[in-house]
Amino acid sequence: MDNIMATLRTPKGCLGCLGLVVVLIALFVGGLMLGGIVNENYHMPEISLAAEEIPLPFELPFFGHSVPNTLPATWLTMLLLIAVSFFATRSMKEVPSGLQNAVEAIVEMFYRFIEGVAGAHQAPVFFPLVATFFFFILISNWMGIFPGFGSVGLWAEHHGETVLVPFLRSANAHLSTTVALAIVSVSATQYFGLKLVGRPFLRRYFPFFFKSAPVEKEKPAATGFAAVIGKVAAIMEKGSNAFVGILEFISEFIKIMSFSFRLFGNIFAGEVLLIVVAFLCAFLASLPFMALELFVGLVQALIFSMLSLVFFMMATAHHD
């Protein structure tokens, strides 16, 4: 206790700490002064739900005269992932070192995690796709926080007024990217189910067609009223099974929507949050929100890949 008091009273330690706190508070207050709350002439940048189109001087076959600005971000993510894997596996050594070592550590950590969830038998089958989802979504989310994303662009005419069209926007802030990922995930569920379980996989959509031979013991033949009730119950059971099958089929499409909107909503809302906070306070206040965005990017990548993995496992679980 006396040592602490002695340190606090020492001019050197006390002054330094105090000076740092004063500088931080001054930065924050200065940021508020410069920010949008106080200045009426400082307008918030345009936030658009749809990805802005970058007008091109030439014409592309599929896109036409403009390209959505999430596309270069997707290309950058792909470039980064491909470059890292290329350089990490260029001259592979038995005892890894350098980039190969780092990449091996990351991949192995993720593989252990998947093995814990899916079991050692099925993990090698699911790992490539799930890891691709995870690393693609993670890298594209984290790249969206980089300086330059959403701030560097060109001015273009849009609905009669000039707006800034940024060259780069977080790749998952466009519904097309997330819907594409979701479609791949749900299609892969059907593919794994059909490949690993075979035809009985379709039992979940058509429960009355493909049901295996009934394994119930032989019930004594009922007579009279009980027989009629039994037959009615059997018909109703078939009907409700058919309804459940239809519901399962519809729920696959709802899964596509759910996957895509979860990812899109999180990333787009994060972008809007960063824009608004940076607008309100010019310095310092963005930092905790940037950290939040890093965390949210990681969690959303994890959730997308984990949910895909769980659906794969549910599709290939052997009931019998």
Partner: protein, 85 residues
């Protein structure tokens, strides 16, 4: 009672959408978390399993909140002129 301008209704609609749409998932996530904590307290060895399943269930609940957020953002940021046609 209802304001004449579309702008006012837009603001109110966006606010109510996200307020209600985030309150109920928040409640359900808290409930799930508390049940998971109870389960871990009763059986600390299964904490890995419990954690994985809890995160899964929380992801589903949070997705509902995100749907509400997307609807609120769409109400707020899709310009009126675009909807007029």
């Amino acid at each position: 009672m209802w304001p004449e301008s579309y702008e006012a209704v837009t603001q109110a609609a966006a606010a109510i959408t996200i307020a209600l749409g985030a309150a109920l998932p928040a409640f359900s996530i808290g409930w799930m978390g508390s049940k998971a904590m109870e389960a871990i307290g009763r059986n600390p060895e299964a904490s890995g399993d419990i954690l994985t399943n809890m995160i899964l269930a929380i992801a589903f609940a949070e997705a509902i909140a995100i749907y509400a957020l997307v609807v609120a953002l769409a109400i707020k940021f899709v310009p009126v002129a675009a909807l007029a046609h």
